[in-house]
């Protein structure tokens, strides 16, 4: 299998001019994802997961190190990658349908074709009938599903997903997980998936990457090694719980060493 995505020694510093502080969000992140692989990232809040995804997408330039997709260095976003953003990022002045076709519009794809493609994915996320609603007329979970459709419709080789199911109830969430796995298998996509739900990470992934607390580093990578297609019942099997316990242990270690709360940004440099 070919390497699809490679992050080498990624370091990222945020500079805050107002307080003249710099904050090291990522420090020496290494990760290799194979073609067609499903990899999840878990880690404590604020450890740099979203930051890492932005670097992979090319939205933020790494302070050090480099990202390669298909062997080419990433310097900016491209149609081979698509992001499902963590926060509500739908354009509020566009209807559901206009939001979903937005990326296709940016590529200059004809309106009729874009709409036809959008319909399929709006249908898939269970929102047909809501094409002409505005985002503020939808629930948080519905908005997240539009967010998902907007990325899927781009048919990217690599899907970068930042807690896409966080606002969904348990049932819808499991339905969407299965749907995502179906798309992933059928369209042979490579997925980098961020989540706070450890069981979700295990159920979906080939490997789970555990990040350490800030500055983010790869603390450990865990092979899930369960056959596919997986049924939802694997979540109740002993080997599933064993992996879950192990990941919990890794994250707890980290939380314990920082029990006093989040570390403040680094002090000003002189």
């Amino acid at each position: 299998m070919a390497v699809k995505l490679e992050a080498r020694d990624i370091r990222l510093e945020y500079y805050q001019p107002r307080t003249d502080t710099r904050l090291v969000a990522l420090d020496g992140v290494n990760l290799t994802v194979m073609d067609g692989e499903f990899v999840s990232i878990v880690g404590p809040s604020g450890c740099g997961k979203t930051t890492f995804l932005s670097v992979v997408d090319g939205l933020i330039a790494a302070t050090n190190g480099r990202v390669m997709v298909n062997g080419r260095v990433v310097s900016r976003p491209g149609p081979d990658r698509a992001v499902v953003f963590q926060d509500a990022s739908l354009l509020p002045w566009r209807t559901v349908e206009r939001n979903v076709v937005y990326g296709l519009e940016c590529l200059g794809i004809a309106d009729a074709e874009a709409k036809a493609r959008a319909r399929k994915f709006i249908d898939m996320v269970g929102l047909s009938g809501f094409e002409h609603h505005y985002p503020h007329e939808l629930s948080g979970g519905m908005q997240q599903r539009v967010n998902l459709a907007r990325a899927l419709v781009m048919d990217p080789e690599v899907l970068l997903m930042d807690e896409p199911f966080a606002a969904l109830d348990a049932q819808t969430r499991e339905g969407m997980q299965e749907e995502l796995l179906r798309i992933w298998l059928q369209a042979k996509k490579t997925v980098l998936f961020i989540t706070h739900q450890i069981d979700e990470a295990i159920y979906l992934s080939d490997r789970v990457v555990v990040f350490s607390g800030r500055p983010g580093r790869v603390k450990e990578i865990i092979e899930v090694g369960m056959e596919r297609p997986r049924r939802l019942t694997v979540k109740r099997e002993a080997r599933f719980h064993a992996i879950e316990d192990r990941i919990w242990g890794l994250i707890e270690e980290d939380l314990k060493s920082r029990i006093a709360g989040d570390r403040p940004p680094d002090t000003p440099r002189d």
Partner: protein
Amino acid sequence: MATAEIELDAGASAHPSTLARFYREHERSIIGGGTLLAVLLIWEGVARSGLVDPLFLSSPIQIVKAGIDLFEGGEIWTHIQVSGSEFLLGYALSVAIGIPLGLATGWYRRLSYLLGPFIDALNAVPRLTLMPIIVIWFGIGIWSKAVVAFLGAVLPILIATNSGVRTSEARYLQVARSFSASELKIFTSIILPGTVPFIFTGLKYGIGRALLGVVVGELYAATAGLGYMIGEAGDTFQTSVVFFGVLIFTATGLVSVGVLDALERRFETWRPKAGAAS
């Protein structure tokens, strides 16, 4: 018997009396119109009571009479035409320059560095002090007043548009960049929709400033126009004519802002309504 009563009650609450419904549908006009009517009645009453010299105060009915006389005399049409042209020319010019320049200075940082000092200076100078120069440059015809109206309206439009662009939300810009949107696409799909309410605020504020420019310009140097008419009437103590002129300006301002409001609502159908419930 008891059942019948209950049914009657239920019927009443499902179909409230037509009067109550009329009130609810027209609450805004009723409250607004009511206070206006009350003020006019008090004004008329005070004028008739003889407590105040009618030369000072005029009265609503006298103002209406003065208006009828003015239209019968026919001369007022020239004044309306002159002032109208000045207003429309000046305002159109300020829209045509203020919006594009506001967008451009908001978008291109260097352009705002370049033009910022001029904009700030123009904003700081009391524009009326420029009147003599404007008259020297543009004469006492309609162009000098159009220029004063333009100078009044262009800055609010420009400044509001500029802040609209600069407050564009970072996360929407990030979405556009993630989809590899071109600069032009980012501008039309992210910047512009977010800036529309700012532009309308500037446009509405600009109306008042342009009207002010017309009046003041005509009071200063003109041979025709409603401001000129008001000035003349003031000099000869025709209070009612002054008030009638003021009324025309006020009506023009209100109608223009009303048109802009309607236009804005068409652009802003996507926006959830904000504000207190009552």
